[in-house]
Amino acid sequence: MASSSGSGEVATERRGIPGAQFVEDVQTYLAQAGLDVNSALAFLQERLQQYKLVEMKLLAQQRDLQAKIPDIEKCLDTVATLQAKKGSGEALLADFEVSEGIYSRARIEDTDSVCLWLGANVMLEYSCEEATTLLQKNLENAKASLEVLVADLQFLRDQVTITQVTIARVYNWDVHQKRIRQAAAPAKDS
């Protein structure tokens, strides 16, 4: 199996998301941080909450992009169909929705240009070729953004996992310490 992604070093942060510090030894970690167990646990829990918030935001962005991509592909399909019909001389008949459940027929003559809705109440006219190029570029940008987003989410999940494991280890260490102290205490009293 190939080794895990990245070299041996840990990314300390990625695009504003702080990296979770991996703890080699719980005792050393607590001594270095100068925290007692409860403060350490509180700090780690807070970090976990922050990670969860960022995760929600990223997931929402991912959903938006995933909805946008099929939209752009549908537009490309439509423009391609119009272009294909261009040579044939006959008009394209299409049924489109006027209102819920009500459709009307449109007769689309041969045309060299299409109008693209750019958002913010702006619509621009393009030639078929320009429209295809623009839509293609938008599609590639959307797919590239989605890739970066997915990588961010993976990094985030790793940090969440590391933090959760650290919380468990600190807690277990504390339980273990308490048990050692209890075992030692009766010996002292007697």
Binding site: A94, D95, F96, T161, V165
Partner: protein
Amino acid sequence: MQQSGGSETEVTWEDQQNINRFSKLNNRFHELEDEIRIAKETNDNLEDASNELILTDEEVVRFQIGEVFAHVPKDEVESRIEDMKEVTTKNLEKLEEEKDSVLAQMAELKKILYGKFRDSINLEED
């Protein structure tokens, strides 16, 4: 060394990386299950569509392109649906393959992690 319930098994960086990798694979597995389900539905819909097409005796079929239904001759619709079915089937195969690979990697990691941590770790679905 006393092992009285509160275990003292050390977690190395490599263990942490294995756990991270397992978590990523598990997420990917659930995503794949969803994608496979959607691909299967699409395939079924295309099957139904092409069956309907065989039954109909109209020459012109309303085929959805984007948001509108364009009037397209039946033959062209048939070939379009065939192409779409091919694409979906290939996609489905690729997804199934990836799912098998993910499951295999997860089984490997489970062996390693349970081997080291035994009861201290839980890798099952809750």
